[in-house]
Symmetry: C2
Amino acid sequence: MRLCVNFVPLREIFCMAQVTPIKFEINAQQGEARAGVLTTRRGQIETPVFMPVGTAGTVKGIRFEELETELDARIILGNTYHLWLRPGIDVIKSAGGLHRFISWNRALLTDSGGFQVWSLGALRKISEEGTEFRSHVDGSLRFLSPEVSMEVQAALGSDIVMVFDECAPGEASHEETERSMNLTARWAKRSKEAFNRLQSEGADTGRVAAEGLSGTQALFGIVQGAGHLDLRRTSLEQTVNIGFDGYAIGGLSVGEEKSVMFEVIEDIAPRMPKDAPRYLMGVGTPEDLVEAVARGIDMFDCVLPTRNGRTGQAFTSRGKLNIKNAQFTNDTRPLDESCGCSVCRRHSRAYLRHLFMTGEMLASILLTHHNLAFFLDTMRGVRQSIRSGDFPKFRREFTERLKANGE
Amino acid sequence: MRLCVNFVPLREIFCMAQVTPIKFEINAQQGEARAGVLTTRRGQIETPVFMPVGTAGTVKGIRFEELETELDARIILGNTYHLWLRPGIDVIKSAGGLHRFISWNRALLTDSGGFQVWSLGALRKISEEGTEFRSHVDGSLRFLSPEVSMEVQAALGSDIVMVFDECAPGEASHEETERSMNLTARWAKRSKEAFNRLQSEGADTGRVAAEGLSGTQALFGIVQGAGHLDLRRTSLEQTVNIGFDGYAIGGLSVGEEKSVMFEVIEDIAPRMPKDAPRYLMGVGTPEDLVEAVARGIDMFDCVLPTRNGRTGQAFTSRGKLNIKNAQFTNDTRPLDESCGCSVCRRHSRAYLRHLFMTGEMLASILLTHHNLAFFLDTMRGVRQSIRSGDFPKFRREFTERLKANGE
């Protein structure tokens, strides 16, 4: 064992110069829309890709078997904040990392915990060093910083690590946003330094051999700057200067107008490095995904399909549908007549409504399944249409169909 | 359509004389333990069989796909009381019966609603005519009688219908139990009359052609009498005199001592018709099932695997296990090392404990799945051992192993 630990840094020096932790290849483009392949140490991911959110080590309400087979999700997201608090890093380390702990052998991306801590509002205090906050679980005082976040994410052993950032509110002033953005840049630098140290120390529990890849974790930077385009551009420059394996746009979909969100994406995405994946964090509805792809985004995550599934809302090709609605009492049609998922092939709106109204867990299970199927199928359609040169047609028809039915 | 309705009674007269709604064949016996095949209009069921409980049209926390494939449940139970209140009979009728409404094409048994109404305690008033009660859903005044129960079960279209009975409490006096038992006998007669009328009127929504069977619903009688063996024998006689397709022992596992339950089964089961299935209602733990099989029982239903799964209790070959227990925090073993279910093949106790402690739905889903797998596998083992002549050995080893581990 000792030999191995000593050996890691040497191997790093040798390998890091030649191979990267991920590879990203664009294989079709139409306008700004890009279709590509992201190769991670845990397999290939076709982009644009939607990542189901697996907050506490489970994509809520669905078994991994479904995600692997019918839905074919190639990458899911885990939340550093939640996993750090429960079950805690010792438990996950003792299991050999997050992949082993939860039994998921495909790619995992972990956020940094920054957004969750920021969302705690009054419960947190931000300083240059990091963020002090009270755990929502037991009220205990905790401290999260770039260094701690990188340590936790190394222990989780995710395949893609996010830098620890600070998020400015949607309505923040130019001054406030600039201060926050500069802090994010300093934290990004510290994140990278801590990340590199942890990689060389072999702290990454998820390390696996992968052909043509270094086998280490990949690290993504995050562009902040709220709705201020000049700050967004500066933030992008700061982030690219530090240098990361991929680049994310953070701090959108946090209360700002949708037009602001698209203005930022439209301005920033084309300026992002072309040869690295572009990840739009926490976004969005099916129409948001298609519109962001049209502006050059490659990766997405969002709780909408799972969270809304649990509250009775289904996403369909003809718009949203609230299964609670009395009009579905005797409706023998599937949720979405154009959907081929196992829920739509088998169950009626009437049955799903009944399950929801009686508080049956199966309502959440089935609506979550369908919603994830709809999001992942939409992205499949997006990728195919970019490859076949039909993306503008796909985008137009998709958007028109969504409006067709005011259910 | 009119022609069809007119035609049904004629066909009944012709068919009923020659074919039955179910067939039951014992193909191996060892002591009192019997292994057989129950043929219903919706396929064959090997007995002894455990029926997962699908109260409101769903076996809580599990998809039908899992029940059909991995678990291979051939029959599930539906609750007349719950389905009658929600979604109501009009909705289920409009969908074409319960099988179609929930999309389950295998056999369904429905209880009569008698036990649920009886369980309401102070909220119900029993008369000769039936039971008046307040709905637990909306407080509305409802009335359930043999005739209403048969009408509801015909609309549900279940493959096996239970008579409407009254259940005496475990601690009831001889006099009180006798009065209740006689009422059950009168209700059983009325149930059968109403049932026959409804069958001849074609009210059964689940009617399907089946080779060698009448295609109509089957009706089971229920033996009551609490812990009083003389009354149990009288009740059995009354029930057999009316004549049913199968016979159930009701009113057990309702608060009496376990020794009383086995005393009743031991006395009554061998006196029940040998050529009809014997169903022990609402029982029980894995050891109860094996012990009742040893005394001649063929069918079981119980909420234990599903309900206890939701509260964090796993049934294993070495006894029960409470996943909340801190000792499992870092336990990388599966719930049951001898279990081959998809949960035990994939997930550790540590992960399941984490899911339960964080309130994740997947905890209930996975524990329910394992518990049902354990119950159904146990019955598979029971059937095989009876057929191979090894049941006493199976029973002895099964019971010893359960005690082996005091987890």
